[in-house]
Symmetry: C2
Subunit: 446 residues, 2 copies
């Protein structure tokens, strides 16, 4: 880590902001975290959150700063998907090999714990202080009650923008020439709902599963919380025949759930009330470059690369940013400029790769899950991978349970897809999908 | 045109803003144009401008509002490219059929004339009044000396954002959810230089040609002005071995021109002085959607779709926006909402198409012009198109000299490219490129 202690501001006290604060504080720097919102430890959760799925990259980043065990206490391991498919009994799909799991954590619960841990380590938090402007070359921050009102000016050595998809820090960088930027929304929104615990505090559904009710263009998911409840998410197009737009009344909402999710409907708490009191949120992919400004300012996490949530990697990618960045700072002594340069060069291709993988998962979910050819292909892959675990690691496992870079996961995934395309063109593949011949052909193509 | 006169604000007094003002004023509306810059009629030109190439779409839009003849007085027709290639004598490439030409106009001269014409028609211009914020649902504009200072508030019925690639109006729309936005810079910059007139006021180079000095990764162009001078543009990578970055001193600039443009060098006015006093400008492709907000706000021209200048269609595309929009308003009576909806739906695919075509021309220029295969392909296409002008309209002609939509031009261009790919794979194509066999094969593939 850099030798000379710096005076550092972090904008944003979310998961990435508080973890980065902890890393840098433990490396001996002075850290102040600004957030425009109130302290999340003192407020009710927003009702707009999807539960998190912590996987290998996330844990590795927490381990390196010594808080893995602490966080595992508030997480529940999920070793499989529970598929609630229309017209079929409930069935399970294991995520990986034995012992491999993703971990369900409530965003709010995790964020509160991380702020506690950062504060204990000596990080200063300034909540309800709104950053309106940043002077990039001089690492100054301007805060105030309103954008037009009187501003307070702060001088720092380094500023980190961990202020999420709609980052104010990035916003300032974006007005510079030669700053590439993309924000692309998908036409599907989401809404948080809740399945409460049983009266005795136990879970109403299997607590070690990620529950999915796929319905083609839309789906419902549920992830367990420690208190016996499930945080659920309804993904649904904004417009169209079956859409958020078409559900206008409590009656509409009831009819929608009765038609498509009858089995889960009676378990959802205050269904029709929450449906209208919880917001409908949009999902966006954000890409930009560069991520840094000299040795003064750097973007980390969603501010640099927001992705759609369908691979469960948003937080994991942000935590991996921090791991890589702090490792680079560690090596480069006081040369923050080189560390920042290397950080963005290393992370940008990986951020683009996980954005692509996440978007593809969305497309797969919304257009392919009903395609028998696609399902057959997945079945062949699964069979082969189980038989030859060293020769064929499925993309999902490489992303979720390995250290391999996202860019590598994308590239190998594409190569595997190329092989499967050829396999699917074999005559009578529907009949002989589990034959020796198919297996042999894959081995040849590898 | 809409029946009830509206009180309309246009942000931006550039080419698109002043033409739209003229159209709407002539349709009976009250028009105020705001611009943060001083009146261009009272200031020196910026030294950062590329001359304009008015082609069919531009003229059509001017004709419909009755100012085509007026503007032709300040334009010079160019019916050919003049190619200044290293190691070859100067040669010419006709743009199209006889009578087809693009017209060179100085951006500053045109802008001054258009503001005059709009003012004569009764448009009010408010120069040096900076728009900082827009209230979209209420069509309010906020102006003031500084962003943080006291603001003036104006109420309008409709607001148009014609404020260019870095539009403040779009900037406000962009902060809304589900607004898609992309800005992507290319790694090549440009700089304006001048070749002055001869002492007797005549042009130093052929005045009816678009002069090009292609040099692979970079190029120099010159377009004539009425006063005998040429406005020239040097396109050059920002970084790299031969780049703006590598030209640091007057000596460097002289060496660069001596090495690559010896023939034109002595004609450039104040070469080494202008090189450092004129800015180096960046080029960006901007895409966004939606372009309108209810019946209150619409983006027109670069604010909705900035493109790189390598097809000479930026202004033409903006003028065509106005033509289409005003035709729609004409048909839809007082229903501005429907007209705006139809406008963005019709123009967005065309804006995307001309962005793509312009970017491809940039790629072609920087990587393909030295490729003998590419040059041969162009030669075969030219030969065929001359012989069968009804069967093969080159993309350039369809974009530049026709009414066909940009989207159609892109699609047909792609189909033609597909055919040429097959032709180029014919054995010994290098020898028999002008044979009956090749001609026959194209006819079969069409």
């Amino acid at each position: 880590m850099a030798k000379t202690p710096k005076n550092i501001a972090i904008v944003g006290s979310g998961l990435v902001g508080s973890l980065l604060a902890l890393y840098l504080r433990k490396a001996g720097h002075s850290i102040t975290v600004f957030d425009r919102r109130p302290d999340i430890r003192n407020v009710q959760f927003s009702g707009r959150s999807i539960n998190l799925a912590m996987s290998n990259r996330g844990w590795k980043s927490l381990r390196a700063v010594g808080i893995e065990d602490e966080i595992k206490k508030i997480a529940i391991p999920l070793d499989k998907r529970a598929m609630h498919v229309v017209g079929q009994p409930l069935y399970f799909q294991k995520y990986g090999k034995d012992g491999e799991a993703i971990w369900s954590i409530s965003r709010g619960v995790l964020n509160r714990r991380m702020i506690d841990l950062a504060e204990e380590a000596g990080v200063e938090f300034r909540f309800e202080e709104k950053v309106w402007d940043v002077d990039l070359p001089n690492a100054k921050i301007f805060t105030g009650e309103t954008e037009k009102g009187v501003w307070e000016e702060y001088d720092y050595d380094v500023i980190f923008g961990c202020d999420g998809a709609f980052s104010r820090v990035r916003h300032k960088m974006q007005r510079r020439s030669r700053f590439d930027y993309t924000q692309e929304f998908i036409d599907v929104g989401y809404k948080e709902l809740t399945i409460p615990a049983n009266a005795d505090g136990t879970h109403k559904l299997d607590k070690h599963s990620f529950h999915i009710w796929p319905r083609g263009k839309f789906m419902f998911i549920a992830m367990p919380n420690l208190d016996g409840s499930f945080t659920c998410t309804l993904f649904l197009p904004f417009e169209g025949e079956v859409s958020f737009e078409s559900i206008k009344t409590k009656e509409d909402a009831k009819n929608f759930f009765t038609a498509y999710f009858p089995n889960v409907m009676q378990d959802i708490e205050n269904l029709t009330q929450d449906f209208f009191s919880n917001p409908t949120s949009a999902m966006v992919t954000i890409k930009c470059y560069p991520w840094t400004y000299w040795d003064k300012v750097a973007l980390v996490g969603d501010s640099a690369h927001a992705i759609v949530p369908f691979y469960g990697q948003g937080m994991n990618a942000g935590f991996e940013d921090i791991y890589v960045l702090c490792e680079l700072l560690d090596k480069s002594g006081d040369d923050w400029s080189s560390a920042f340069e290397a950080y963005q060069e290393m992370r940008k291709p990986n951020a683009d790769a996980i954005a692509e993988l996440s978007y593809r998962n969305f497309m797969e979910m919304s257009s392919k899950t009903a395609d028998p050819k696609f399902l057959l292909q997945k079945k062949i892959e699964r069979r082969f991978s189980e038989k030859y675990p060293d020769k064929w690691i499925p993309s999902y496992s490489r992303v979720t349970f390995s250290d391999a870079s996202y860019a590598e996961a994308l590239a190998i995934g594409d190569a595997q897809e190329g092989i499967m395309k050829q396999i699917m063109q074999m005559p009578q593949i529907e009949e002989k999908w589990d034959s020796q011949e198919v297996e042999q052909r894959i081995l040849e193509l590898l």
